[in-house]
């Protein structure tokens, strides 16, 4: 299995150069496709950033998402700033954020009047009912990808189950994330990792990137 996925990664990787313009362009596309709810950012990042460009790994996205949930502000923006910063420091963060926000900004300025008129047409509603279903599928796919990278043993399985149930019970995401971090620290103090196995270097994409640098 791992060899298949790494081959796939290699196939996808056109190795677009990490410069401000490319980051802006990529996030502009993501921002344009970001319809109905900020969490759609994750499937889009998985597709554009992880699969196509290899600019971040799935488990990094997972980490950024959890962190973004526990920080104030708009989640899609937070995750984008994390990805951008990791690519090219502050310049990357600004480029990613500008790319993400620009389509939203232009859409409201230019077409919100027209949209206000068409948003209640039955046809428009039908189209967006359909898109809603597509979004559900995208989010499920992303959960599947993230599961593979984050749920690696019994402890992480428990954390996953706890976060899922607590979120469904409407517990604040801030509290969920903080309590998970706390449990992780307590767990690791009692059961330190057996080998020098480090989660960060277990991913083939990461190794490639290090080899490149």
């Amino acid at each position: 299995m791992p060899s298949v996925s790494s081959q796939k990664t290699l196939l996808y990787n056109v190795r677009m150069e990490k410069n401000c313009f490319n980051i802006f362009k990529t996030f502009f596309k993501i921002g344009t496709l970001l319809l109905g709810g900020g969490y759609v950012i994750l499937p889009l990042l998985q597709s554009e950033i992880a699969d196509k460009k290899g600019w971040a790994t799935t488990d990094e996205l997972c980490e950024y998402y959890a962190l973004s949930q526990s920080l104030p502000g708009v989640i899609a923006a937070n995750v984008s700033i994390f990805v951008g910063y990791n690519l090219l420091k502050s310049r990357g963060a600004v480029s990613a954020l500008a790319g993400l926000i620009m389509p939203a900004f232009l859409a409201i300025i230019l077409i919100s009047n027209i949209l206000a008129k068409i948003v209640n047409y039955p046809t428009t509603q039908n189209i967006f009912a359909g898109v809603g279903v597509g979004v559900v599928v995208l989010v499920i796919l992303t959960v599947k990808e993230m599961w593979g990278k984050s749920v690696v043993d019994k402890f992480t399985l428990c954390i996953f189950a706890y976060a899922l149930i607590a979120a469904l019970a409407h517990l604040s995401p801030v509290l969920i994330v903080l309590s998970c971090v706390f449990m992780g620290i307590i767990y690791r103090m009692n059961f330190p990792p057996k080998t020098s196995h480090n989660l960060d270097t277990s991913c083939p994409q990461d190794n490639e990137r290090k080899g490149e640098a």
Partner: protein, 176 residues
């Protein structure tokens, strides 16, 4: 003065709204009640519009509020203000993470935070499934799309395109 007020109010939204997207709504209703920049009817229309325009709801509403109160400059100031706190906080956290990456407690936290993120997203999947998928046609679309996507991985745009066309077709056939 209106610019300073816009800036101040949307900075507050940026700093105090935890949990993203709809967590900004209580603040926006508060702004609507206190300043009258937009009515609560406009705000609920805005939320509907936001779901068909690109971008997160919080950002869309900030742009809209700025735009209706004082034109493009207002729109820019409100949008900038709502994301400025995010920028400062996230960049700071990123720096700290890089600096303390080798620390074993930080590693333990990251080890636990990943499945937590995955669990939170799984909860989102459950919620939006309940909200968005009802009626036989939608179940069929959902199952078909899921099977298709598990077989071959395509660009997110393709799935969204297929589901938009299916929604349109279901509407025309009257099975929505």
């Amino acid at each position: 003065m209106i610019f300073l007020e816009l800036m101040w109010e949307f900075l507050k939204v940026g700093v105090f709204s935890f949990g993203g997207g709809y967590a900004t709504l209580p603040f926006l209703y508060h702004i609507s009640a206190n300043y009258g920049w937009f009515t609560s009817k406009q705000l609920s229309d805005m939320i509907a519009i936001s779901s068909v325009t690109p971008g997160p709801v919080g950002v869309n509403v900030a742009t809209f509020a700025g735009f209706v109160t004082s034109g493009i400059l207002g729109a820019f100031i409100a949008t900038f203000s709502v994301i400025l706190p995010s920028y400062i906080i996230v960049v700071t956290v990123s720096k700290l993470l890089k600096k303390f990456k080798e620390n074993k407690h930080v590693q333990a936290g990251i080890y636990a935070i990943k499945p937590a993120g995955c669990g939170l997203l799984a909860a989102v999947a459950v919620k939006i499934f309940v909200d968005n998928v009802h009626g036989a046609g939608m179940y069929v679309l959902w199952a078909g799309l899921l099977l298709f996507s598990l077989k071959q991985k395509k660009d997110a745009l393709i799935y969204l395109g297929i589901s938009a066309i299916a929604g349109l077709a279901f509407g025309l056939l009257g099975i929505i």
